[in-house]
């Protein structure tokens, strides 16, 4: 039993596959013994485990109404013209054609979204893990203090507006004041209106606020790694902490790593609120205009729901695609 548990922990992927095998095995036993078909066995199991359905029921209802249904509705609406007042009118691929061929601002938005996603996503993910890993070995009291320092910015909602104070556009801002005192600039820079600074600053702020749930679950996950595995590793020739990380720690917390990746990706592509509050909407020359802004613009200002749905579907495929890529990449960890 303890062996099994260890193996399970070593390779979380197995968890997804074993149950299927188990049922097959059971079916095999059942059919050889009593001669019932697989379907009948499933039916029997369903009857026996009815409590499971009762327990998962409320969630499934909520989930269908607020997640599955909306995705389907958006998907269908993306093929229509719909202004919320009249009935949707079927328009084939008109929206998509318009989006990719005629809408220049969409291309800007797409490009910016990709820039933000490619920088903030991996950076925040790696940072979350590395910091969590570093923190893991501190004494419990210091660990909770440091955890709090790192987690604080993401927990405290609008605290990132402090960056507005730091990079304030007049001479009373911290950055301008310091730069002027050092003689690097002679007149204040309006950071959040200046096209050269908007994107890098937004990325810094995004990273500052990104050590969130993923970071916390990494910490919890690291605490949960079986300590005896480390001892076994040391006996078997793991020589330093990096080998230990690669061969023991990472494989043992694969499922949490995937979870963190998913959060990082959805966060990175959904990026936009920070920009609104720091640089105004729209930002100067649309330099920080993301897909989310583009969608919100068509939804709330122009009531072109069909077109907005179309953008959301593009966003959906972007997120989904990168998630699948990451899932494959994580499958190679520790091999």
């Amino acid at each position: 039993m303890s062996d099994n548990a260890a193996v399970k922990q070593l390779d979380e992927d197995v968890v997804e596959e074993t149950p299927v095998e188990e049922t097959e095995e059971n079916t095999g036993n059942g059919s050889s013994g009593k001669g019932i078909s697989r379907w009948e066995y499933t039916k029997r199991e369903m009857k026996q485990k009815w409590a499971g359905y009762v327990m998962v029921g409320p969630f499934l209802l909520m989930f269908t109404v607020f997640t599955i249904l909306p995705v389907f509705v958006s998907f269908l609406l993306s093929f229509t013209n719909f202004n919320m007042l009249e009935l949707p009118e079927f328009a084939m691929f008109d929206n998509y054609i318009r989006l990719f061929l005629e809408d220049d601002l969409f291309l800007t938005a797409f490009q910016n979204t990709m820039i933000f996603a490619i920088t903030t996503g991996p950076l925040s993910y790696i940072l979350s893990f590395l910091l969590a890993w570093f923190i893991n070995e501190l004494a419990p009291k210091i660990r909770s203090l440091v955890t709090f320092i790192f987690y604080g910015p993401s927990i405290s909602g609008s605290a990132y507006l402090v960056w507005k104070l730091i990079f304030q556009g007049d001479i009373y801002g911290l950055a301008n004041g310091l730069l002027m005192k050092m003689g690097l600039i002679t007149k204040p820079i309006v950071f959040f209106q200046d096209t050269t600074y908007i994107v890098p600053l937004c990325i810094i702020v995004a990273i500052w606020t990104s050590l969130g749930t993923a970071f916390l679950s990494f910490i919890a996950g690291l605490q949960g790694v079986d300590k005896s595995l480390y001892e076994a590793g040391a006996v078997d020739g793991v020589r330093n902490r990096w080998q230990e990380l690669w061969y023991i720690t990472l494989p043992s917390m694969k499922s949490i790593l995937m979870f963190g990746a998913v959060l990082a990706i959805t966060g990175a592509f959904g990026f936009g609120g920070v920009v609104n509050n720091l640089c105004g909407n729209p930002s100067t020359d649309y330099v920080a205009w993301t897909l989310q802004h583009h969608m919100a613009d068509y939804l709330n200002a122009r009531y072109e729901v069909g077109y907005a749905s179309c953008i959301s579907i593009v966003l959906f495929f972007l997120m989904f695609g990168s998630n699948l890529l990451i899932k494959n990449a994580l499958g190679k960890v520790g091999r």
């Binding site: 499971g52 359905y53 998962v56 909602g157 009373y172 301008n176 959805t266 939804l299």
Partner: protein, 289 residues
């Protein structure tokens, strides 16, 4: 034979002094990067008006004052809807969302993790894939759903959608998987314990850290994001809404920082309280086979 390093008299495997130093330095650098803006915000909240307009601004306060907070509370009393109503709304919505999310999420997590009814894997895969979609994608159709359910401008709209938090469920399921041994559940089943009782009396106490984590995330979300954007009447809006409108109305650095400090202090206090319990309960999941 490898030399064994010790920390506080216990042997530490595979750790070099060099590595420890590098890690400490990196942690310090990031600690400063993460903490200094927060620190600057707090400092600014306590600055008197005279120190606000220095070039460059000081990174400390010479004469700390509560004036900014007093100004803030003065402008709070002049809001259209009494402030207590906003606070009540926030508490009501957070409680509703957290409790619902906990019950629905943990029950489903237990069922998926341990009851393993036929089809549980399909449900779980759906949930995993849905995590990959942000609320931006579902936002458009949410509005249509709300219209269909006639939920616009009610409390329900801010509470019920939170119950479908796949994030909480996913976390919970993972923790049950790794912290509750199957043999324990089987033993209880053989003794004739019903699934509901196993869930309530065995599994829930064992996964305390998971539901604390879930609680923090949900509460944090409600506190920071507040009521749904499809709530129009001021009576149903939350504290963050009031604070934000005060910040934008006052326009001064001081009152704005004071408001931001108040906004961030609550989730941080909640986190500090719950964090100690998470750390404490993590180690004691009990019964190892």
């Amino acid at each position: 034979m490898k030399k064994l390093r010790t920390r506080k008299h216990s042997v530490v495997l595979n750790r070099s002094v060099g590595g420890d130093t590098v890690i400490t330095v990196v942690l310090c650098i990031f600690g400063i990067f993460m903490f200094s803006p927060t620190y600057y915000l707090i400092i600014t909240a306590f600055k008197p008006i005279g120190e606000m307009f220095l070039t460059p601004p000081n990174f400390y306060v010479i004469r700390p004052t509560m004036q900014n907070f007093i100004d803030l509370f003065a402008s709070m009393t002049s809001t259209w809807v009494p402030l207590s109503r906003y606070i009540f709304n926030t508490i009501y919505i957070s409680l509703g969302a957290t409790v619902g999310c906990l019950i629905i999420g943990s029950m489903a997590a237990y069922a998926i993790s341990k009851v393993r009814f036929p089809g549980y894997n399909v449900v779980f895969q759906l949930i995993v894939y849905s995590l990959m979609i942000s609320s931006t994608v579902t936002g458009i159709a949410h509005f249509l759903v709300f219209v269909a359910l006639k939920w616009l401008n009610t409390y329900t709209i801010s509470i019920v959608p939170m119950w479908a938090s796949t994030l909480g469920l996913y976390l919970m399921k993972n923790f049950i998987d790794s912290n509750v041994p199957d043999s324990m559940i089987e033993a209880a089943r053989i003794e004739g314990c019903s699934e509901f009782r196993i869930y309530l009396t065995i599994v829930m106490p064992l996964v305390k850290p998971a539901w604390l984590t879930l609680m923090i995330t949900v509460f944090q979300n409600v506190w920071n994001v507040g009521a749904s954007s499809y709530v129009y009447s001021e009576n149903l809006k939350t504290f963050d809404n009031a604070i934000n409108s005060i910040i934008s109305a006052s326009g001064t650095q001081g009152a704005g920082s004071a408001a931001a400090v108040i906004m961030m202090s609550v989730p941080i206090i909640v986190f500090i309280i719950t964090q100690s319990q998470i750390v404490e309960t993590m180690g004691s999941s009990g019964m190892k086979d």
